[in-house]
């Protein structure tokens, strides 16, 4: 059972967390101006990287949504960043 570092609570068991998808999967804006392909990529395409990966996770116990840099092969966690402190690209409303 892995240990993930919640930016708010500290290291906790992986079972307390919920995976929120790849970091950097920005929501395409513009409604009908967004092509079918771009929208489908946002909805369904995953990076599925072997090795260093940048992911969004939520700590269900406290509700913190954050970015975690981890290695999908050796399970090492490099760091976890709160969205407001550099974890999100700007962390603020679009």
């Amino acid at each position: 059972m892995q240990l993930f570092p919640c930016p708010f609570c500290g290291p906790r068991s992986e079972s307390e967390f919920h995976f929120g998808g790849d970091a950097g999967n920005h929501r395409p804006e513009g409604f009908r101006a967004v092509t079918d392909g771009a929208w489908a990529a946002y909805l369904y395409e995953r990076n599925n990287l072997r090795g260093a990966a940048s992911e969004i996770w939520m700590h269900m116990a406290c509700g913190e949504v954050f970015r975690m840099e981890r290695d999908t092969v050796n399970h090492r966690v490099a760091e976890a960043l709160a969205l407001g402190q550099g974890g999100g690209d700007d962390g603020m409303a679009h």
Binding site: D36, L43, E64
Partner: protein, 935 residues
């Protein structure tokens, strides 16, 4: 009867004799005996029958690696290793895989047909005409022990979470040294060992450490460790290393309880797990009486049992001599058959050098040995030592890689793994001086004695799964040459002992057959658990009602007092109906009464997620399909929350309390999902200092008063607020006090009749409910359960998400198209609604279905069918179906292709072999104008 007791035995207390039965026969022993040591001393040679061929099998070892001596203990665990189970007075023990007894097994004849049941026979034989004809019988004969289904099962297992600086696995000499060093350096230490006492090999091998006898030294170190606050766990197996240095330990506990589970998070781990002796390959090497040399030493020194009177010690290495000398000193006639031409010649010991054992002789028990030079010797026991295999399992589970050492003929840990150190015999240092001096040069001296191809007699590799050298040769002939294929094709290493005594012999033979070196063949993947761990240990207290705990209503006691029959709904335990009586009749009666007078309903699980802040309105415009910012304070609006794929995720009413406060009233089964969704968007897209989310669902109870006389009942309550339809119209909310308790009253209806949803703090719920019950008496108020409620809402065509919607349902399928056309701001799923798929004319749409064949309610899940050119196609299905008391006929709802354009059409519905016919009608079957909401 060849084994016999001496005076010694450090584990045994001869002042406390005991007896138990084995296959019905009485066996005597002493306190401290294992079942194996007592059976051995009692001359019981045949302990079981082998897996496939039902050959008689006897004891091989003295520990976890034991492949043969599995027994069932009445009232206890099946497939228990007799080498680990303590004998207890009055125990009833049975052999496994043998009927009526191990001694006389009615399936013994199978061995005569062994050439028809080699490895993987089931891929070739018993296939025609149909494998399934033979499968039940073969499955019945496979397997070893039997579960005692009459037994109660173990009590709850305890589970402990623990943190430490250093976890040392194994309390033999190297483990004790490592633990002591760490403790003296001030670290928090946990030391575990699967034996009942610390000491490991010091308990049966002579040794002097720091001037003390080995076993005494071990006890003193353990005492010092405990004094420094270290945790010393005996009877405890470390069965697995998991991510981030989590180690699973399984600790034996007294009595009936299953093993205690320890989850230990260690900053660093020391593996002092020792090494396991390998068997030697020779003909009929599975005969009872062929045993591990080291095990014989354990039985002598720990239990005072000598395995035989005329003993052959066959060995390819120097570690067997301590055993040979000890057995000779105890009075047995010992001959050492040393495979090495340059073997030593200790005084008082007969040693034959440079010869090997070619075959064990005897029927059902060893009576002699035939050597490679043709000599035939009489013997009643053959002890074999084919080398030692370091116990590297945990190291490999931690992704460690192994190196092969030709000098000791063993796989040892290779490149180090972060935070995991391997010491002692597990690192290939087999002799004690090497351990204490931390020195790789040692007096081990081993020559290769691997199984050879083309042996005339049958040579066993895996005793527990009955795999012979011929099976390995068969695998090679059929090209299953990778070590992982060898394992699965022959089942070598797949039994409960997981190849502890067979893997290396098997892959060494594979190496020879395929012209590769042993390291090129490699080992199979090591996976936890190291030894079997009972499921009860992993489950802990999470069984029975704690497996998937249901959430309980604040008023559960009150409902029970009223005779409620409870069922699980969306993770909550709720009243299905109120008894006594026939369920269907009660449910119909409740639904009928609710429409005539007034009914009381407990809707506490209803979601109540507060969204608060200056940006709350803007936030909710993004969350909901509908426009919500235009909702006036004090009003409520029904809406959908979609997924980004445009699929209906949840429906419910949004309540606006004031400019900056809303309550998302979502489905009771979706509360955590909706809460997570709200938080994710709040943090990832909005300014979290201007929107706040608070899930108040469990803090408040929601009690509903519904029916044509609901207003009259409400008027009798002592409320400090006006309840007329101007102050509180339908879809509005007010806050006030009821008997001094703060309440929030919303006029929202799920029944289609005038309804008041009264939300109160959960601890005040009982008082308010009592008040409503008392007030309701004058009106003959009925209590409404979930089942009746479901009928009432279906009469109105109100959907239940997940029942009347599926993973493809979009808002336009329910006729809600306005927001897509008119809403200007972005919302979840918006772009998905502008896709080809969302615009398809043949989408399944939500409609009512009226049975026209007079055959009662339509089966739920029945599919609409269209037949064309001999093919049948589904056009949708029935999602809800009931008998309506208000309409006195069946009603149903469903998702049907082009439903909204086909009003009045008759459709054919199919359910299993039943064909039904129904007309497509509007989803609302009762009070289409909705006037009853205002009555």
């Amino acid at each position: 009867m060849t084994a016999w007791r001496t005076d010694g035995g450090s584990a045994v207390d001869r002042s406390r004799p005991l007896s138990f039965t084995f296959d019905g026969r009485t066996v005597e022993g002493f306190a401290g005996d294992t079942l194996a040591s007592a059976l051995l001393a009692g001359g019981v040679r045949v302990l079981g029958r082998s897996f496939k061929y039902h050959r008689p099998r006897g004891l091989w070892g003295a520990g976890v690696e034991e492949p043969n001596a599995l027994v069932d203990i009445a009232g206890g665990m099946p497939n228990t290793r007799a080498t680990l189970a303590l004998a207890a007075d009055g125990m009833a023990v049975r052999s496994v895989n043998a009927e009526p007894s191990a001694q006389k097994d009615r399936h013994a004849f199978l061995d005569a047909f062994s050439r028809f049941i080699p490895a993987a026979f089931y891929y070739k034989t018993f296939m025609f005409p149909d494998w399934h004809l033979f499968e039940p019988r073969i499955r019945q004969m496979a397997g070893l022990g039997t579960v005692d289904t009459a037994a109660d099962g173990p009590a709850f297992a305890e589970q402990v979470n623990h943190h430490c600086d250093v976890l040392v696995v194994g309390a033999g000499p190297s483990g004790l040294l490592a633990a002591r060093t760490a403790a003296r350096a001030g670290k928090r230490v946990v030391l575990c060992d699967d034996g009942r006492q610390v000491g490991g090999s010091l308990l049966f091998r002579e040794a002097t450490i720091e001037g003390r006898p080995g076993a005494e030294w071990a006890r003193e170190v353990a005492a010092e460790l405990e004094q420094t606050g270290a945790l010393v766990l005996t009877g405890t197996t470390a069965f697995g290393i998991y991510d981030h240095h989590l180690v699973g330990l399984s600790q034996k506990v007294e009595g009936d309880a299953s093993d205690r589970l320890w989850r230990v998070r260690a900053a660093s781990i020391v593996l002092a797990t020792g090494a396991i002796e390998r068997p030697l390959p020779f003909g009929h090497n599975d005969l009872p009486g062929v045993m591990s040399t080291e095990a014989a030493l354990v039985y002598l020194r720990r239990f005072g049992v000598v395995v035989g009177r005329r003993i052959v010690v066959a060995t390819n290495n120097g570690l067997a001599y301590e055993t040979a000398l000890a057995l000779a000193a105890a009075g047995a006639e010992v001959t050492v058959v040393d495979y090495r031409a340059d073997a030593p010649s200790p005084a008082g010991l007969q040693v034959l050098k440079g010869v090997t054992v070619a075959a064990a002789l005897g029927r059902g028990t060893v009576t002699g040995a035939r050597l490679s030079d043709g000599t035939v010797m009489e013997a009643d026991a053959i002890l074999a030592s084919g080398g030692f295999t370091p116990t590297v399992h945990l190291f490999c589970q931690a992704q460690g890689k192994l190196d092969w050492r030709d000098d000791i003929l063993a796989f040892v840990p290779g490149s180090p793994v972060d935070g995991v150190e391997v010491v002692g015999a597990a690192a290939g240092r087999f002799a004690l001086p090497a351990v204490l001096a931390d020195d790789t040069a040692q007096e081990f001296g081993i020559v290769a004695a691997w199984p050879k191809p083309g042996a005339r007699e049958r040579v066993w590799i895996d005793l527990q799964n009955d795999v012979t050298a011929k099976d390995v040769e068969l695998a090679v002939r059929e090209n299953f040459v990778s070590v992982e294929h060898l394992k699965r094709y022959t089942t070598l290493g797949m039994a409960t002992d997981q190849g502890k005594t067979s893997n290396v012999n098997g892959l060494a033979l594979m190496a020879e057959l395929t012209g590769r070196r042993i390291p090129a063949v490699g080992t199979t993947t090591y996976r936890p658990p190291f030894t079997p761990v009972p499921f009860a240990t992993f489950a802990g207290a999470r069984s029975g009602t704690r497996m998937n705990p249901l959430r309980r209503l604040p008023l559960e006691r009150e409902h029970r007092a009223e005779g409620a029959v409870f069922r699980a709904y969306g993770g909550w335990l709720r009243p299905a109906f109120y008894g006594p009586g026939v369920p269907d009749e009660r449910i119909q009666a409740e639904a009928e009464a609710a429409r005539e007078g007034v009914a009381l309903f407990d809707g506490s699980p209803l979601g109540k997620i507060e969204v608060i802040g200056p940006d709350a309105a803007q936030f909710l415009d993004f969350i909901y399909y509908n426009t919500m910012s235009t909702l006036a304070p004090g009003r409520c609006r029904y809406g959908f929350i979609l997924t980004e794929a445009g699929v209906v995720y949840d429906d419910g009413v949004l309540v606006r309390l004031d400019e900056n406060r809303f309550v998302v009233s979502c489905s009771s089964s979706h509360v955590s999902g909706v809460h997570g969704l709200l938080e994710e968007w709040r943090q990832d897209r909005f300014d979290r200092r201007r929107v706040f989310i608070h899930n108040a669902t469990a803090e408040m109870a929601t009690l509903t008063v519904t029916g044509p006389r609901a207003r009259d009942l409400m008027a009798t309550l002592d409320l400090d607020l006006p309840l007329d339809d101007v102050a509180l119209p339908h879809m509005a909310v007010v806050c006030g006090l009821l008997d001094g308790v703060a309440v929030r009253i919303a006029r929202v209806s799920f029944t289609g009749d005038r309804s008041y949803e009264i939300s109160v703090p959960a601890d005040s719920a009982a008082a308010v409910w009592a008040r409503l019950r008392q007030a309701g008496k004058a009106f003959g108020a009925t209590l409404l359960g979930l089942e009746a409620l479901m009928i009432l809402r279906a009469e109105k065509g109100y959907i239940v998400v997940g029942k009347d919607t599926d993973g493809t349902s979009r808002p336009m399928d329910f006729g809600l198209t306005a927001p897509l056309e008119r809403k200007k701001v972005e919302f979840i799923g918006r772009r998905s609604l502008a896709t080809e798929d969302a615009a398809r004319p043949d989408r399944r749409q939500f409609v009512g279905l009226e049975a026209v064949d007079g055959l009662g309610p339509l089966p739920m899940g029945a599919h609409g069918v269209e037949r064309e050119a001999g093919k049948t196609r589904s056009t949708g299905y029935v999602t809800s179906s009931y008998f309506s008391p208000a309409l006195q006929r069946p009603i149903a709802l469903g998702l049907i292709e082009r439903g909204l354009a086909r009003m009045g059409d008759i459709v054919e519905l199919q359910h299993l072999r039943e064909i039904r016919r129904a007309r497509i009608v509007p989803s609302c079957a009762f009070d289409e104008s909705g006037s009853r909401l205002h009555v």
